[in-house]
């Protein structure tokens, strides 16, 4: 798999190149926007890691030029600026994902993999969380290798919680998921479902954050 790194800082660029090579990719590295544009237009890459603050041509300009030519290579933006407006601008101009500096390389690696998976067309891989494997396509759930039987609502709640692991899902959001099934909601329907999930997966999986919602830890 061929990755292009566009980063003008020596140390950082070198580090990312080393890291990606360790991961087993073939890595090319350019240090300014003009060279980046030429490289992307000429050769085929499986993904591009693009820093925004570049000499000669800014990262956003490179992105604009590349998308204009209808090149759909997945682009992950790196930026020191964490302002929402800049992020939105990048995504609107055609980036697929962004990361702020400084970052954890493991996260870059994971996001890169997700990007390339998405562009390859495999949009629903299995979700793994510890001993739990969820197959969103077949709605099958495995715990420690054994299949677990879940109602449709229980599955929806579990899937949402695991997909958003590390973030609290509010009561309202979870009730919305249940409500989507067009049934009348009993006042403590949510608590009942959570209780059932805890029985099946252990009481430590889903944590209650009083006053806010529920969370599955990362």
């Amino acid at each position: 798999m061929r990755i292009l790194i566009v980063e003008d800082d020596e140390l950082l660029g070198d580090g990312i190149q080393a890291g990606l090579t360790q991961d087993g990719y073939t890595v090319d590295w350019v240090m300014d926007g003009l060279m980046a544009k030429e490289a992307i237009l000429e050769s085929t890459f499986d993904a591009v890691i693009l820093d925004l603050g570049l000499p000669k041509l800014s990262g956003l300009e490179v992105l604009k030029a590349v998308r204009k030519k209808k090149i759909s290579v997945p682009v992950l933006i790196l930026t020191a600026n964490d302002s929402v407006t800049d992020r939105v601008k990048g995504l609107d101009l055609g980036a697929d994902d962004y990361m702020t500096k400084p970052f954890d390389f493991t996260e870059v690696s994971a996001r890169l993999r997700a990007l390339m998976r998405r562009s390859a067309g495999r949009s629903s891989p299995t979700i793994v969380h510890g001993d739990i494997i969820i197959d969103p396509a077949s709605h099958e759930v495995m715990l420690k290798g054994n299949a677990v039987k879940l109602s449709r609502r229980e599955f929806a709640l579990l899937e949402t919680l695991i997909e958003n692991a590390g973030r609290v899902i509010s009561r309202e959001q979870m009730v919305d998921i249940l409500y989507g099934w067009n049934d009348d909601i009993e006042s403590n329907a949510l608590e009942v479902h959570i209780h059932n999930l805890r029985k099946k997966f252990g009481s430590t999986l889903i944590k209650t954050i009083r006053g806010v919602g529920y969370i599955i830890q990362k």
């Binding site: 973030r167 006053g211 806010v212």
Partner: protein
């Protein structure tokens, strides 16, 4: 404004009133635009106004003068005509023979021309001779019984006037305008008249002299006044010069004593502004210095760990050191982020983009983001907010505030306890509490923790020392108060923030 009982029936007077209102408003709006477009100049205004007033006044004087001269001229001629008529009448009342009448007339004419020859070149005589030589002043003496007339040369053949007595403006058959006086007694009528053209000419000559004097005065007054205005406004120019010659770092006060009273308040305020800018610049310099200082130590620590890692031969131990290095660089990144936040907030004297914000929702959002970190330390985190609480403020700033408070509570906790966020309302004030049962802060230091870069002595946990000063600043921007205290159960730290609401 007139009150109308029938809004449809607007009288003409009301319409006129309305129109006047509209014009007045348009006029002031135009004036305002003229002033605000920056072309307004006191000097130009004064000069134009003075010039205008002067012109108006002197024009009025000139006009009044003309009319007054015309009046005087008439009176003088009236006197002259009457005198002449009476004289002639007196002379001719004496019974005379016909040929003697003619001889007297010739004699009268002769004497005048001899005056003319004998007179020195003098304007007064010139005028008189002009009057006579061009036959501008004439007389006719009518014998009422015989109808015969004795007249001066230049007088028309027919009697000018048909009246017995009095002044008249009339025209002779050949079109000449005359101003005449008629005197009649038993035997004769004396008519004496002056050509209007000549009379007007005399009038104009005198008026011209007056006008020249007025114009000369006008020019002198104008020059003097305009110079005075120009000189009078020169202190302004001096102040401008003084400020224009300053360097950007010269923020000292302008000497107020040399400045005219009208500008003293302006200069005083400028000086105060200089002072404020100077203070602000000093604060920024200090902040940058502090920030640089604060980063030196974590960076030094990082470098130290790297040095040790290089020398470590054991793979396992090196791995541990490298993890510490990652933690150290995270800490640097955290400090930098806090500094950025603080530097964006510090210059603000007031909040930008205020709106009505709801604190329960914001608390839920921030706790939602930080819950994982709390759980990783086996900290139970909870929100106690029985309802929605609305205040006026900035949502982003409030998120930053909550994030810093909750992060603080989590960061310094050794683990296995709880963090509570509580919202309640009393007497139109909303109270936000963040309570933890961690190590807490001794009572005597509870005020100091909000100081910038303050960290407790012997604090092992890494931190920037900026979190609570950011909190304190945001609270101030929202017109609230913040304090730190020990919770009721004596363990940990409770930070209480009070926000005023609409009623309070």
């Amino acid at each position: 404004m007139t009150t109308l009982t029938h809004p449809a029936k607007k009288t003409r007077a009301d319409k006129r009133q309305q129109r006047k209102h509209v014009y007045r408003r348009l006029f002031w709006r135009a004036m305002g635009r003229y002033v605000s477009r920056g072309r307004f100049s006191i000097r130009r205004f004064l000069m134009l106004s003075v010039f205008g007033i002067l012109t108006l006044i002197l024009a009025a004087i000139a006009i009044l003068n003309y009319y007054q001269l015309a009046q005087q001229n008439l009176r003088i001629y009236q006197v002259q005509l009457v005198n002449g008529a009476e004289l002639l009448s007196a002379i001719y009342s004496v019974k005379m023979h016909r040929d003697r009448e003619q001889a007297l007339s010739d004699l009268l004419n002769q004497s005048v021309s001899s005056i003319h020859q004998a007179a020195p070149a003098d304007k007064a005589y010139d005028l008189a001779s002009l009057q006579h030589s061009q036959q501008n002043l004439v007389f006719q003496i009518l014998n009422n019984q015989t109808g015969e007339m004795v007249k001066s040369p230049g007088a028309p053949e027919a009697p000018l006037s048909t009246h017995d007595f009095g002044f008249e403006h009339l025209n002779s058959p050949n079109g000449t305008s005359w101003y005449s006086f008629t005197l009649t007694n038993k035997t004769i009528s004396v008519i004496i008249a002056v050509k209007e053209k000549f009379r007007k000419k005399v009038n104009d000559m005198i008026f011209l002299h007056d006008l020249i004097i007025i114009l000369i005065a006008y020019v002198f007054i104008a020059i003097l006044l305009l110079s005075v205005i120009y000189v009078g406004l020169s202190p302004l120019r001096r102040v401008v010069q003084e400020i224009a010659h300053r360097d950007s770092d010269h923020l000292g006060s302008i000497n107020v004593k040399k400045v005219p009273n009208e500008i003293k308040p302006l200069v005083r305020e400028l000086n105060k502004l200089f002072h404020r800018i100077y203070d602000s610049l000093e604060r920024e310099k200090k902040f940058t210095a502090d920030a640089a200082h604060e980063l030196k130590t974590p960076l030094a620590a990082l470098k130290m760990q790297v040095n040790v890692a290089i020398r470590e031969t054991d793979d396992q131990k090196r791995r541990v050191l490298l993890d510490k290095i990652i933690a150290g660089s995270d800490s640097c990144a955290h400090i930098v982020n806090q500094l950025l936040t603080l530097s964006r907030l510090e210059p603000e004297a007031q909040l930008a983009d205020t709106a009505t914000i709801e604190l329960t929702a914001i608390s839920q959002k921030v706790i939602g983001m930080l819950a994982n970190r709390a759980l990783d330390k086996t900290l139970d985190i909870a929100l106690m907010a029985p309802k929605k609480y609305y205040i006026t403020g900035n949502e982003t700033a409030m998120e930053i505030l909550l994030r810093n408070l909750i992060e603080n509570a989590i960061r310094y906790h050794s683990g296995g306890g709880k963090v509570q966020v509580v919202l309640n309302e009393r007497h139109h004030k909303v109270y936000l509490h963040v309570i933890d049962d961690g190590p807490g802060v001794p009572k005597e230091l509870q005020k100091r923790i909000f100081d910038r870069f303050y960290r407790q002595v012997g604090q092992k946990v890494s931190g920037s020392g900026l979190g609570l000063s950011i909190v304190s600043h945001i609270v101030r921007l929202h017109a609230g108060t913040v304090l730190a205290k020990t919770p009721k159960n004596g363990q940990g730290l409770e930070v209480v923030i009070m926000f005023p609401t609409f009623g309070g």
